[in-house]
């Protein structure tokens, strides 16, 4: 099947994010992904859109966040686009320690935030980020079936 594509766009208000989440979940469920996988992927897109609103736009409404859903024969890609402050590339550095590596018995150290990107990285097969002409694009890729690639390479 040739590529099929749809762009979802919202104003940067958190009230609109469930609309994106629900639409993405339905679009994913049209593919060979299971309902749980579709839900997990929709969660990643919601995390990315929340980040764009909260971090790139400082919670100011009336900016725009776009999500481009592309359906290829072997994969889905999601491009989350904003025109706000760019993300520090260290946030996506491959060697960043995972916030999930916490000691479950050490109450005070449990993470209350900073989980979004880690959720995205452990669910998607590829995550990349570019900034061009003031437009930031976070690209999330998920391959179908056996094509899944581990995001953490065995050797550094």
């Amino acid at each position: 099947m040739s590529e099929r594509r749809i762009t979802l766009a919202i104003a940067s208000d958190l009230q609109n994010v469930p609309l994106v989440g629900q639409a993405i979940q339905r679009l994913c469920s049209l593919t060979s992904l299971s309902d749980i996988e579709s839900h997990q992927i929709a969660l990643c897109v919601v995390e990315a859109v929340n980040n764009a609103i909260i971090h790139a736009y400082d919670r100011e409404a009336e900016h725009e966040v776009q999500v481009i859903f592309s359906h290829y024969s072997d994969k889905l890609t999601f491009q989350i686009c904003d025109a706000g402050r760019a993300m520090d590339p260290n946030c996506l550095a491959p060697k960043a320690p995972s916030p999930f590596d916490f000691d479950p018995r050490c109450l005070e150290r449990l993470p209350e935030g900073g989980l979004g990107l880690a959720i995205i990285r452990s669910t998607m097969d590829e995550v990349s980020y570019t900034t061009t002409c003031g437009k930031n694009i976070l690209t999330l890729t998920r391959f179908f079936k056996s094509c899944r690639i581990d995001t953490t390479p065995l050797m550094g």
Binding site: L14, Q15, V17, P18, G21, I36, H39, Q40, L43, V46, E47, N50, I53, I54, F100, F102, P104, L107, E108, L110, P111, E112, G113, L115, G116, A118, I119, S122, T123
Partner: protein, 119 residues
């Protein structure tokens, strides 16, 4: 956001009535949980059976409640749907929280009065 509350002996059952615990309402949810804990409740069952979707902010708010308990009490969760359970597992929060199938089991383990809890 709306939180239903019910008592079962000295256990407080808290039931968020939202289908999404997300960034829109995480702050409000966290504040309401903080108040309940500040007002002296030390055994809380968070019934998530009505919640279909939790994002990292919603999860953070739940973790925040547990931390606020400061080990002086218990905050357990129950009624997780398959989708939200997946999030607890992915983030390893299933190793932090006691997770029960339903209110009755959670209340029974916390030593509350089971007959006030829904199955």
């Amino acid at each position: 956001m709306q939180l239903d509350q019910r008592r079962a002996g000295d256990v407080l059952i808290v039931i968020p009535l939202e289908d999404r615990l997300d960034a829109r309402i995480a702050t409000d949810f966290k504040e309401q949980m903080t108040e309940l804990i500040a007002s002296g409740h030390t055994k809380i069952v968070l019934d998530l059976s009505k919640v279909e979707f939790i994002d990292s902010s919603g999860l953070g708010a739940i973790v925040s409640g547990l931390k606020r308990m400061g080990g002086r009490g218990e905050l357990v969760v129950c009624g997780l749907q398959e989708t939200t359970m997946t999030l607890f597992r992915l983030t390893r929060m299933d190793r932090v929280f006691q997770v029960f199938e339903n209110e009755r089991q959670a209340v029974s383990v916390l030593g509350g009065n089971e007959k006030d809890a829904a199955t």
